[in-house]
Amino acid sequence: MSVETPSRTAPPPRAGARRRRRVSGGTALGLGSAVLYLSLIVLIPLALVVVRSTDEGLGYFWKAVTTPDAWAALTLTIGASAVVALVNLVLGTLIAWVLVRDRFPGKAIVDTLIDLPFALPTIVAGLVLLALYGPESPLGVNLAYSRAGVGLALLFVTLPFVVRTVQPVLIELDKDMEQAAASLGASPFQTFRRIILPNLVPAMLSGTALAFTRAISEFGSTVLISGNLPFRTQVAAVNIFSQIEGDNTTGAAAISTVLLVVALVALLALDLLQRWGSRRG
C-alpha cells in the first residue's frame, strides 16, 4: 500500500531544515511510546518467528524448508510471484500510460477502479474470481485449483502497485523533453524508447518490487481459488497456515523466515533502486 503515499521521497529542503535539535523530554517520551508500541506488536513477535525457526538447530530449519510440500510451495510462490510481477511491469506501465496520456469518457472511473484491490478484502477477491473463473464460470473458463488460478489471484491483488508508482512520474514528466526529441528528428517510438522509458524505469522497477513482495506474502485471495493442493497449487502462506493448524510452529516459522528474508531482500533492492533513481532524477 505504500504506493498510495509515496513515502520514501526525501522532504524538500527547507530553510533551516538541517537545524539540529536536542532530543528533548517530549521527543524522548514520544519516541519511547512509539518504540514500545512497535516492539509489542511488530518487532518482538517477528523476532520470535526468526528465533523459533532455528529453535531446533539449523539442520531442522533446512529440513523444514526442504520437505517436499514446503519446497514445492516456496518455489511455486516465488516463481508465480516473479511472473506476476513481470506481467505487472508491462501491463501496469501500459495502464498508467493510458490513464495519463489518453483521454476517453469514463477515464476517471477507470482510474478509481485501480485501487479496488487495495480496498477489497482478499477473501472476497478470491471468491469473486472463483465465481467468474471457477467450475461454474459463465464464460466457460475454469481456472480453479490450477496454477493459473493462483496467478490470477496474485494479478488481482498486485494490480495497483506498478500503476500507482508509474502514474505520478508520468504526470510529472516534462513534455518539453519529448518535443525537443521530436524536433531533433526522433520518431514517436524512438522518443518513447530513448526519452520516456529511461525516466520511467526507476518507478517501474519500484512498483514491480512492491508487487513481488505483496505476491509472495499473499494468502486470502489464493485460499479459495487454488484449492490448496500440496505440490500443485499450495502457496507458501497457505503452507504456513496448514502447519500452524497442525501445531508444527517450528516448521511454520522456518518457512515464514524464508518469506521474510525474500521480502526484505526485495525491499532492500527497491531502496537501492530508489536511491539510484533519485540520484539520476
Binding site: 532530543v23 518467528v49 513482495t213
Partner: protein, 291 residues
Amino acid sequence: MAESGTIDTSTVDTSTVDTSTGTTAQNGTRGVSRYVLRVIAVGYLFFLLVLPVALIVWRTFGDGLGPFVEALTSSSALHAFQVTLVVALWAVALNTVFGVGAALLLVRHDFPGKRLLGAFVDLPMAVSPVVVGLALILLYGRFSPVGGLLESWGLQIIFSTPGMVLATVFVALPLVVRSVVPVLEELGDEQEQAAHTLGASRFQTFLRITLPGIRSALAYGVVLCLARSLGEYGAVAVVSGRLVDQTQTLTLFVEERFQNFDQPAAFAAATALALLAVVTLLLTRLLRPKD
C-alpha cells in the same frame, strides 16, 4: 492466462470503448496504437476487476433483495458483523493515535535512529498476514511465557478479541503514518512556530494548528486503515481460531459459509464487503491530498 483474457478483450470490448475524443489529432499510426493500448488497458481491468465483482453482485441480488437481507441477518452473520466492527474500531483507534504520534516524531523531531524507525513502521507491509498471525501466537499464545502470564491474570489474547485487534493493528499499522507524513512535511513548521510566538502551548498548537492542517490526510489514512481492518482475513484467521459465533469476523464468515456450501450467505457477505470497499474507494477519492 492473463494474456488470453486481454486478447479476448480486443474483440469483445471494441464496441464499448469506441468513443475517441480525438482532441489531439495524431497521425494515423499513433491514433491506432493509442486505440490498441486503450483497449488492452480497459479490457484487462474489465476482466480482472469489474466482471468478477459485478458477477457476485448480480448473483447476490439475482433473486431480489430478500435473500440478501435474510442471509445477512442470520444470527451468525450479525455476530460476525459485530466482531468485525469491534476489532476494526479498536485497531483504527490505536493506529490513529500511534499514526499521528509517529508521523509527528518522524517529521518534526530529530533523534538518532530516525531512519530505522521509519523502516520499522513500513515493515508490516512486507510481512505475510499468516506470518503476522504466527508471530503473535509465538509471543502471546497460551504456551509462551508472556501469553501464559497474561492468561494467569485472566487475559486471553490468542483465540480472543485482543489477539484479533493486535493482528489487525499490525497489518494496518503503516497506513495512517504514511498518509500523514507527506502532508506534515509540506505543511512545514512555520505556522506552528507562529502559534508559539503568539502564546500557544504545544498542546494548543497541536489542536488548533497542526490537526486542522492535516485533517484531510488524516481522514484519508483513517479510511484506508478502516477498510484494511474490516477486510483483514489471513492474520485474523490464524489468531482467532475461527470459532463460529465467537471469534468469527465477516471475512472469516465468507470463507466458512463458502466451504460449507452455503453460497448465498457467502456471496451476500462478500457483496456487503465489496460495497464497503466501493464506499472506501469513493471516500479516499474525495479525501486524497491533491497533488
